[in-house]
Symmetry: C2
Subunit: 328 residues, 2 copies
């Protein structure tokens, strides 16, 4: 018998809308067969995988899909709004939006150790999600946007992959994982065929703890805001310059460090914003994007003019290895 | 009568070796007339102004010029050695080399406030210099590399200019300032005519507190070493690329801040080196040098390979105003 966690050799790479439509039909039938009249719970992060998974399940069972979007305050500018717009209006799902910003940021206050930050973020996420799950009695299924590389990596022992790992055992969910045999590029093709907006389908890889790892050291609300605003400017200017979708990943970092500057004739003592823009095929070897100086100036000038608490802009020239993609 | 602190309108701009030689002859006569059989004391920093001043006075009175070179541990790589080589061998002066590295660095340990750092460095410098002055009894004159812009700035009330300000009053020196009517470019022409090495004559502007302001925050010996070594690499590569003397000022900064990296498969937690390379005509408006990526990569790769405790290289894109040239 075919192992359900092994991609059959006969399975064609999904590269066209036609192939995507065939895959969608097949999965809709399969989800209906699995779930019957049941309900599915899904943690919607705003990432490509969970969004495509939600759109697929919603197509199969409509509002018997219950999506929980936890806003932990570490999302990019406009992302919670986009998730609510797409899944609250465009798709027929039962969407629960949880504003947990204060809960996360209060717990993170004063915590500078990267590992502890990650654990706190992951831990509270599970808490909040489990609280919502308990409220919604009678849900047997948990939808997850597991994709094929996740499965391959867990087999290799590289990492245990749980999109929502660590849920209390009492909840005892049966998993629904409609995209678990797809590669990332196929997930995107399927997402487009499902009518998800381009910005969501082409979303860059984004770390689980969100902007939290780019607000290096102990997170404060004002510095987090500087990360979010500068990141939005960088994304806007990269899109305007035609670099969106061409450069693998780009974002900004605001380290917990200040230096002297001058504004309107007065001394300032503010943070630097670091621009990171990298290319890679495997995320193991990474080179930097050679951003033209003209574009760097445009981004720099906007950041210095629009972002509060910032008086310098730096470009990170570091390749991986030696540096890592993220700063912590 | 002509005010000795006003450049006469009849004075020609010194742009040629011939004009420089005439100026040198005139000053040699003037120094001899002022000093007679007396001795002159001079604090030799290794900068253009004090070096040219020392060379001029030495030409006039030989080893009756006593130069004190205080090594405060904040000089660039190779600078104390160059000062000793040039003034200990090439010129006939009485050179006193004071190794005060521990005294400075011990006093600076744990001090992160920029203003306090500057005050400590300035204060100890005066202490050390005054101690040497007291040992050398019978010196009536103090040589100083004051130049014309210094005089103009003190007149404008912008800053009180003392090359060795704050010396105890009991020492009661009479000043010898042979280049006080010269502009910087003229000082360089005169320095060349006196036979000073090109590296000394074309030395970039260097802050009084030396590398101390580029080892941002509380200075530690290991981070200071990272500043010195990365600065030396930057200068070497700029020279090899033909940028020395073309770019107004370039140096490196190592902030007191660490981030995650990877080396030989292991996690590292090290400092970033920031490259600063700027152009200006007046030091008030500053633009950055558009270093080609190829050269940036070369400098970056050498820094990451050769400098201990460093895992990132950043390029500072900040203009002035908004940023300042130095980071503190």
């Amino acid at each position: 018998m075919q192992d359900p966690n092994v991609r059959p050799e006969s399975m064609k790479r999904i590269t066209t809308e036609e192939l995507a439509r065939a895959f969608i039909e097949e999965q809709v039938a399969s989800i209906r067969a699995q779930v019957g009249k049941g309900k599915v719970l899904l943690a919607l992060s705003g990432g490509v995988d969970s969004s495509v998974c939600a759109a697929l399940i919603s197509k199969a069972i409509g509002s018997r899909l219950c999506c929980v979007h936890v806003n932990h305050g570490l999302l990019r500018k406009g992302e919670p709004e986009q998730v609510c717009r797409v899944f609250g209006e465009q798709f027929d799902v039962n969407l629960i939006y949880v504003d947990a910003v204060d809960r996360f940021l209060d717990a993170l206050a004063g915590v500078s150790d990267p590992e502890r930050k990650r654990k706190i973020i992951g831990g509270i996420f599970i808490e909040v999600f489990a609280e919502e799950a308990r409220k919604l009695k009678g849900i047997k299924f948990l939808g997850q946007g597991t994709i094929y590389p996740d499965i391959l990596e867990s087999k290799d022992g590289i990492k245990a992959h749980h999109n929502v790992g660590g849920l209390p055992e009492e909840l005892n969910f049966e998993l629904v994982e409609p995209v678990k045999l797809l590669y990332k590029d196929e997930v995107r093709v399927v997402g487009r065929a499902l009518g998800l907006p381009e910005g969501m389908v082409e979303r860059q890889p984004f770390p689980g703890p969100g902007l939290g790892v780019r607000c290096v050291g102990a997170i404060t609300r004002d510095r987090l805001e500087a990360v979010r605003e500068s990141d939005a400017i960088l994304r806007e200017e990269f899109a305007a310059a035609g670099l969106q979708g061409k450069v693998w990943q780009y974002f900004t970092i605001v380290p917990d460090f200040k230096s002297t500057g001058i504004k309107d004739g007065k001394r300032t003592f503010d943070w630097p914003v670091v621009i990171r823009a990298i290319n890679t095929t495997d995320a193991i070897k990474v080179t930097i994007e050679e951003i033209p100086y003209e574009l760097l100036y445009k981004i720099r000038d906007r950041i210095l003019a629009e972002v509060k608490g910032v008086n310098r802009v730096l470009y990170d020239l570091t390749p991986k290895p030696v540096g890592t993609i993220e700063w912590e």
